[in-house]
Symmetry: C2
Subunit: 223 residues, 2 copies
């Protein structure tokens, strides 16, 4: 229920920094999520080496938001290094975009995760106003999962009500403000935690603490 | 008025393929646009080497669509290899997203280009319905430019009427269906051409032909 967001700070050797974290918590977390800055820093092949240390689901969070053909080209490259799931934006729409990406994901055995809401204030300016359409793209694509912010539990609950089958992944836990376990109680399947673990003196101890907090919260809310 | 979209086909050596095209047309085109698949293929440093062959504006079209802090991390890496302009999605909204990216762009001397409409059919499902809000994000960010599809000239005209000062860059010319010069006549500043040039037997001759077609169309429509 815990996915690690592996985002190195600026100014460190991104590969050794990431590898150290990976070796500390790779067996504990249920998945790992890497972003574009890390890919630019260390290149695709070394991202593959890094991800092989993790046991769980390996997610490329490049927030794909292009026409279908271009997203498929990116997907093929990600699949070649062992990525299990890719994150794309539902707002590019279905036809000629998510439809193509979704088909190619199925062919390659890669899970598709679509962003339907984000954690920053600007998400309410445009995306939140069309959330039903974003959710509908996820429904039409039979997306394996969707992203919704742990910082806004009402959004998580709404998405859960609209998409009973999809996995919900929630960033925003820890430094961004949400407490471990709260999004799970609101209907999420995974919480994504970055700095709370990666910037800790002991990433392993912090990951264990997050898992324990999740367990305690769930024991109460599912009682 | 011509920007080259440098997107290598699958299965070629992306670096030598791109370098050959660059050397043929690097002095002719007014800019070059590279995308995520190429960056994944050859890595950031070699993208920098490649771009140095071009005289005009160097645009990174990674369609950034994340929270502001993450987009800024990507921007810093792109600026370090000599990118002049980055393309991001207006869809993520202003606060905590485009506001931060826009400020950091100004600090680094990188031009900001925002997508307000796209060329695929799915663009009409969600983005076109909120185009005024997307245009408003571009206005608030004082974006240097915006992207609108050459395949839909009514959209180009509308964006021009709403954003008199912004540069309008139009993909979709050539293989995707639009003729060189038509978007310019509709108010665009640059047309983005890919395969019509890159897949030609003689990229240089094809680029010269596109420039000539643009000149002829403009001579008529601006008469």
């Amino acid at each position: 229920l815990l996915i690690l967001a592996l985002d190195p700070p600026t100014g460190v050797d991104a590969f050794s920094w990431s590898m150290r974290i990976a070796e500390e918590v790779g067996d504990l977390v249920h998945g790992v999520k890497i972003g574009l800055p890390l890919v630019l820093d260390i290149g695709l092949q070394r991202v593959g080496d890094l991800l092989s240390v993790f046991k769980g689901i390996k997610i490329a969070d490049l927030k794909l938001a292009d026409i279908g053909d271009v997203m498929c080209l990116t997907l093929e490259r990600l699949a070649s290094i062992g990525i299990d799931a890719v994150i794309a934006h539902a707002f590019v729409g279905f036809r000629g975009a998510i439809d193509k990406l979704s088909s190619r994901c199925r062919e390659l055995g890669v899970k598709l995760i679509l962003v339907v809401s984000m954690s920053h204030p600007g998400s309410s300016e445009i995306m939140d106003e069309v959330i039903d359409k974003l959710v509908d793209v996820a429904r039409r694509a039979c997306a394996w999962g969707v992203v919704a912010p742990a910082t806004r539990l009402d959004v998580v609950r709404y998405v859960r009500s609209q998409l009973p089958e999809a996995k919900i992944l929630c960033p925003g836990v820890g430094v961004q403000g949400a407490s471990p376990g709260d999004a799970l109680c609101a209907g999420a399947d995974y919480e994504i935690v970055g700095r709370l673990i990666t910037r800790s003196d002991s990433p392993r101890r912090s990951a264990l603490e997050v898992l324990e907090m999740q367990r305690k919260k769930l024991a109460i809310c599912r009682r």
